[in-house]
Amino acid sequence: MQAPATAGPAELTVSGTLQTIVRSSKAGSVEIGVLTGIGHALRVVKCTAEPATPIMRKGKSARLADLQAGEILRMRYRPSAEGNRALEIEVVSLGDDR
């Protein structure tokens, strides 16, 4: 689990729940908000994802449009002064007990 970036590492990984999906003015890209944190100290990491951002679900490639709020993601992203940019997204499945 990684809290929001405070310094400037090249890449970070976050695991959390996809909270928000907002269409960006840039063609096809979306801003996603991933809920993360420690205990009851929760934070939202906002990130821009492009149509070309690799997304995997159950070992298969998925599309940006398939992402749904409430899903659990593991996301690699690059922080920058212009904002965070998603590099790779994996949709994490839960067991049948959910």
Partner: protein, 387 residues
Amino acid sequence: MKRGWVSLLPAVILAVSPALTGCRKAPRPGDPLPGLTEEQRNLFQAGRKVAAREFTPETGLGPLFNAPSCGECHEEPVLGGRGDEVETHVARLRPDGVCDPLADKGGPVIQQHVTPALHQALGIDSEPVPEEATGRAVRTSPDLFGFGLLDAVSDETILSYADPEDRNKDGISGRPNRFVDGRLGRFGRKAFVPTLLEFVEGAFVAEQGITNPAMPTEELVGGAPIPPGVDPVPEPEIDAETVAAADAFVRFLAPPAPLRRAREGKRGEALFARIGCAACHVPVLKTGDNPVRALRYKGVAAYTDLLLHDMGPDLADICLGLATPSEFRTEPLMGLHLMTVFLHDGRAKTIEEAILLHGSEGTAARDRFRALDSSERAALDKFLGSL
């Protein structure tokens, strides 16, 4: 000299007699678990000091906080016990069914106090409640005794009690909650937090405004960052060693020893099982393998399954993770004899009142309780009051 030895003798005999007889003295509230190594006991004592330490803005407190020390809210009858403070949690249950704990608006914990510098900057005395909140919850401060043993129960053990589809048709359908990353939750009234260490790390930030290596960013003030110049201490405000000590203090607190039960209490224990309370308040959970010997393969008489159960609309407050507003984790009943108010928000002033407020999945057991005669009710109360 000789006379001195003689006068000391009774004290020496008393001190060693439990060892001689093989009896182990029951731990008192605030004692460490029996069987800890010297190193673990030392860490426990170091953690006790961290828990008692009163932080100030100059040592990391705030700018938003609920209390300046762990001990402020966990103090009765000793450090690590319950407190009379209540706090506010909020969340928004969205129309699409997703629970939003309003983290980007400062939730889910709404801090009741601010440092003088934050007051001066923003003119507020507490964190504002986000207007987007669809639910608002009151939370009492529970005692922390025996939490290390709860942490040591395996996920598989907890999941073995789950019956989300109520396949056995007993009207009880416990289900696990999940943290934001999908791991099984178990701590907190909504069973949201997966591990004790994370609960401690998160509490430093959410309750005291003290950042640490696991969470190096401060809380937002109603969604806005802390104004510049208000927080004088660089992040993280405490180091990993301090967190580890606090974690050890909570982890190694012994569970409260139940009071001695006479015949009436034993009758109450049988009634507890007979009317169905034990279906959710599972009397004993077994811990799994653990690096700490004192936590490994132990039975903990916690009277919980650590799962979510629907308690009905009258108790409903906020969603959190997968928990709906009316779902709560089965409250552990260990240490009930130390409590003065009951349920997650302290609204019940007696054990009987708390039982009668059970709804939905608790309805059948509650109705069977209602049908008991006065002597049976008294016996059940006696049993519960001994836990």
